[in-house]
């Protein structure tokens, strides 16, 4: 049995110094270590595949036992949500396309021209500190370090390392994640929606036909990217009335702007009573106010904590930062993310004394604890474009 001696302590110190040396080399960027990492990932690949054969059914059984009730409850809630969304999905998509056309006409920046690629989440960080996921595509798919990653709800992170066939994505909740963001005012209706019904039915009669009429926005990030159009802008919670037709907001325009979707075309071929009712109504005029309030830096704070926005300057004469404000990426020369990707909504404001300005707690749209498929936006920021 080993005895604790000075000589043995030297071995331990030597190992710790080796760690420090490796750490220094790796943090400064060392191609030899990068190659070693790639090689080890390749060696581990068959081992992990074999382990998955055992682990997957065990994990499913465990989740089945421990999360069945929760899953059932969520399934019911999701079914309700799907029922609400079906009726407005087609018109919302059409409206986004119209919005994209307008952006193109005005030569405004958008994500329309940026290629994206879907990848599957194959692993999560196995320690209790990092908020990192692993995806099943990497350098061979054109992924590079720094590319933003989104899912259907909004921004979820950025790529921090790539191998040939995998990539690591640092989630927006990780303490090392920082992205410039823009805080926008929450949508407020400036005018009462007007409604005309060619069918001659009153709103009350239509409401009798359609029990569920109010729901969240229906436009998904991936839907928009699939159609080659821009990401939804400030798509947090605009109220959509099934009996008055969907709204499309243009937050980029000061003071808000609304477009009138061609409901008849969008709902053609729909058999659901909800869709038929939606198709029977034609006019909606609601002006939403979405004004840019302030720019700041969104920072993750680790597992279980929601991100915060710092470096804000509160100026009540211009705008008051408050709960319900929307947060989107700001873009810009140094930002790794293009502008106007939805990030989340402000749920709390903490005032600090001194020049630090307020802190805003941001609830991300995307649930980063349950990710399955993600989409990598192949965006190279201006600061990294080779001259």
């Amino acid at each position: 049995m080993a005895i604790y001696t000075v000589g043995r302590r030297r071995v331990i110190f030597g190992l710790l110094l080796t760690c420090a040396l490796l750490l220094t080399l790796d943090l400064r960027g060392n191609p030899v270590l990068d190659r070693a990492r790639d090689g080890f990932s390749r060696v581990m690949s068959p081992v992990e595949s074999a382990t998955d054969v055992i682990a997957t059914p065990l994990g499913r059984a465990w989740n089945g036992i421990t999360e069945y009730d929760d899953l059932e409850r969520k399934n019911q809630a999701l079914q309700d949500q799907v029922d609400r969304l079906i009726g407005t999905q087609a018109t919302a998509r059409l409206s986004v396309e119209e919005y994209q056309e307008l952006l193109a006409l005005l030569s405004l920046d958008s994500l329309a021209g940026i290629p994206t690629e879907v990848a599957k989440v194959v692993g999560a960080s196995s320690n209790n500190l990092d908020q990192i996921i692993e995806i099943n595509k990497g350098r061979s798919s054109g992924f590079k370090v720094g590319m933003p990653v989104v899912n259907q709800a909004g921004l979820i992170g950025k790529i921090t390392s790539v191998t040939d066939n995998t990539a690591k994505v640092l989630l927006i909740t990780d303490a090392r994640y920082v992205v410039p963001v823009r805080v926008l005012g929450a949508p407020e209706a400036d005018s009462t929606p007007t409604n005309t019904n060619p069918s001659g039915q009153t709103n009350e009669e239509l409401e009798d036909l359609v029990a569920t009429t109010v729901g969240p926005s229906t436009t998904l990030v991936t839907d928009v990217l699939n159609t080659g159009t821009t990401l939804p802008q400030n798509d947090v919670d605009p109220v959509i009335f099934a009996d008055v037709g969907p709204l499309v907001t243009d937050p980029g325009a000061p003071g808000g702007e609304s477009f009138e979707p061609v409901v008849g075309e969008a709902s053609a071929g729909l058999d659901d009573p909800v869709d038929l009712v939606a198709a029977a109504t034609t006019t909606t005029t609601t002006v939403l106010t979405l004004a840019a309030k302030e720019f700041g830096a969104l920072e993750g704070r680790g597992r279980g904590l929601i991100p915060q926005i710092r470096f804000l300057q509160d100026n009540p004469s211009i705008a008051v930062l408050q709960e319900g404000d929307l947060v989107v990426t700001a873009g810009g020369f140094d930002s790794l993310a293009p502008p106007d990707i939805p990030v989340g909504v402000v749920i709390n404001r903490a005032d600090r004394s001194g020049p630090g300005g307020p802190l805003l707690d941001v609830l991300p749209y995307a649930d980063v604890t349950k990710l399955n498929f993600i989409r990598v936006v192949k965006y190279t920021p201006l600061s990294e474009v080779e001259q």
């Binding site: 790796d26 081992v47 921090t160 303490a175």
Partner: protein
Amino acid sequence: MLAAIWQGPFIRLVPAGMVLLALQRSLFVEFTVAGVIVQVVLALAAAAGAAAGSERGAIAGFTLGVMYDMLEGLPIGSTAVAMTLAGAVAGLLAVIVADPQWWLAMLFTTLGAAVGEVMLPVVRLFTGVPDPFEPRLTIVVPVVAIAAGLLSPVFVPLARWCLRIKRVDWVAPPREPAL
């Protein structure tokens, strides 16, 4: 040299570590306790210390830590520091007793794992991570340490096999012939 490698600890430790790493990333990510991921690789590093002493525990921890860093995409050495210290601290058991009882091995494995888990944010602090000491650490460290202790009856023998440690057979000294 080849014989030294063949008879050294790495020939068994590396494959065992690879399997545990794969299990860590697939199975144990699902099986969380109070939302905390049980760290089986760290547990093996600490168990190696409890089984073989500080020096070999540190070597095992260093090896497993470097493997962990390479696979997780972390800066190489960041987890290795923590696991090296976990193995070294758990190996202090050898100072107390030459052939420890199972519960003593469990105790020191728990201690080593706790030190290793605490060291992780410390190392992150040196690598520039802002505020690595999350409030959740007060839950994470005990859960990881206790889980490592509970796994020690399995992992200490596994570490002995990996490091080719044989239990000491205590035999009575031969009787002196009666004059």
